[in-house]
């Protein structure tokens, strides 16, 4: 996947202050270009999840500017948040699958929630399951799946809006090493297919193997960043 020079995501001196003494971010500046694969690495509480949350507006910055596709996210109103999120795929750390629904129903449910008709769901779900290599377990319930398979379903669900940006928060945190590699391979494949991927992770083994741009975050600051397009 070729990387565009114009930034898809731009953080300019972004600060997130929770209270007088507690900061999420302390004035970070970061550009992510369209088509990039970026790892945000750092210990727990370093601010990597906050960076992701700012992008899908679950958190709000107190200073600086965050832009996505040139739009200042600080100006996105509460009513516009769903529209913003439909442009991204969000993979939460805990899979967040519905235990009483089968694999295909988990995808279908998310599609129905964003207004897809039954016909659209029937047409799209098999393709999504194929895309994340879980079609063979379509009728299984989440508890019948391995951790890696559950994460595949969660990634599949993030693809329902055909997003250009995929945000994954610790996607390998709850997985064995072999499943972790499998998930990173899948994310790399989705990146190669055109999606910009931003992954928050503290699993340095996986990060090193992936050979992608790594932004190190610590104490709410960016410790190191090779820059746009660099590994």
């Amino acid at each position: 996947m070729s990387v565009s020079l114009s930034p898809l995501i731009k953080f300019s001196k972004v600060e997130v202050k929770f209270s007088d003494l507690v900061y999420g971010l302390r004035g970070i500046t970061l550009d992510i270009a369209e088509g990039e694969f970026v790892f945000l690495c750092g210990p727990t509480g370093s601010g990597k999840s906050t960076i992701l949350k700012l992008l899908y507006r679950e958190a709000e910055h107190t200073q600086g500017v965050v832009t996505f596709k040139g739009k200042d996210l600080g100006e996105v109103g509460v009513m516009e948040i769903p529209k913003l999120r439909r442009q991204m795929g969000i993979v939460p750390q805990d899979f967040a699958l519905l235990p009483q629904k089968r694999v295909w129903e988990n995808i279908a449910y998310a599609m129905r929630a964003v207004g897809a008709t039954s016909r659209q769901v029937r047409a799209a779900v098999p393709g999504i399951l194929e895309q994340v290599n879980i079609a063979h377990r379509a009728d299984a319930y989440p508890h019948q799946l391995s951790g890696g398979e559950q994460q595949r379903v969660a990634i599949g669900r993030a693809l329902i809006n055909n997003p250009k940006l995929l945000l994954a928060d610790e996607p390998t945190a709850n997985l064995d090493p072999e499943y972790s590699l499998e998930i990173v391979d899948l994310l790399v494949k989705l990146n190669a297919a055109g999606a910009t991927v931003v992954v928050a992770s503290h699993d340095m083994g996986i990060v090193d193997k992936a050979q992608k741009r790594v932004v190190r975050v610590a104490g709410g600051l960016i410790e190191s960043d090779p820059g746009v397009g660099n590994v």
Partner: protein, 290 residues
């Protein structure tokens, strides 16, 4: 569009099934509250109608002094009719009064007795509430015997005191129960939010609109209120049937027909609106959430 409605309503029904006992508690309490409010409102109206009907049956009997001339009796009649609230005053002669009286007793008992009854006026009030005032005014007319005004005011007093009690007790209790059911509906919706935490989170992550996230829970509250309205109507209807049977005699005949359709309409509408308001209240945090 149909797909969208089916999804939202399906979510609401699923939540109702999931919180069966809480739903049951909310519906039964709303039903009781609506039964109290609706039922007592209906009883109040019915008793008012009965009271209006009874006004023609509550008669004041005014006994006229024995030594009066026909003209003096005529003047007494005019004085009675001039009292505000008097519907009509009929003069019955001593002789007619005695003939009527004799028919109710064996001949052997009354045959040899000289007519002891006076001439009387039978007076009817336009409104039963005025009966006592009219009776007091009649007593002041000189042509009337001392302590010569009699009427049966127990039914009227019963109705008036019942109406008063209904107003205070019924509406007080009804409002209290409505408040309780509101809290139960609120709690049910809050429980739904907890029970559906995962679904709500998924919906938010994938970009579902706030209306899609919240509407199932608003519908859930509305359905609970509506079910309470239906159950409340059935309770009022059952109570009406039981009361009619208990009344049995002539009061049942003057008791108005139960307006099932309008009672159902008003209680279901009231319950639905109330359920919707309570669930909106319960969802107030979600409106601010991202």
């Amino acid at each position: 569009m149909f797909d969208r409605i089916a999804f939202i309503v399906g979510e609401a029904l699923q939540a109702l099934r999931r919180n069966t006992w809480m739903t049951f508690a909310a519906v039964t309490t709303s039903a009781t509250a609506l039964f109290m409010l609706g039922g007592l409102f209906y009883t109040y109206i019915s008793l008012n109608r009965v009271a209006e009907n009874l006004s023609t049956k509550i008669e004041i009997r005014a006994f006229i002094k024995d030594d009066l001339t026909q003209d003096e009796m005529k003047q007494a009649g005019e004085a009675i009719r001039a009292i505000p609230g008097v519907k009509k005053a009929i003069w019955i002669s001593k002789k007619d009064n005695w003939e009527a009286y004799k028919k109710r007793f064996p001949k052997s008992l009354v045959e040899s007795v000289e007519n002891p009854l006076p001439n009387i006026f039978i007076v009817q009030a336009t409104d039963t509430k005025d009966t006592q005032r009219i009776a007091e005014a009649i007593q002041k007319i000189p042509a009337i015997e001392t302590d010569g005004v009699k009427y049966r005011n127990d039914a009227q007093e019963f109705i008036q005191s019942s109406l008063k009690k209904l107003r205070i007790f019924g509406y007080g209790l009804g409002i209290l129960l409505l408040f309780t059911s509101g809290i139960l509906i609120y709690n049910t919706i809050r429980l739904t939010i907890v029970a559906r935490y995962r679904e709500i989170r998924i919906m938010r992550l994938v970009g579902a609109t706030r209306i899609t996230v919240m509407l199932p829970m608003l519908i859930e509250g509305l359905i609970q209120g509506a079910l309470g309205g239906i159950a409340g109507t059935l309770l009022v209807y059952g109570a009406d049937r039981a009361y009619r049977n208990w009344l049995g005699s002539e009061l049942a005949a003057v008791w108005p027909t139960f307006p099932l359709a309008s009672c159902l309409f008003y209680l279901v509408a009231l319950g639905s609106v109330y359920g919707f308001i309570c669930s909106t209240w319960a969802l107030r945090d979600m409106r601010k959430a991202r």
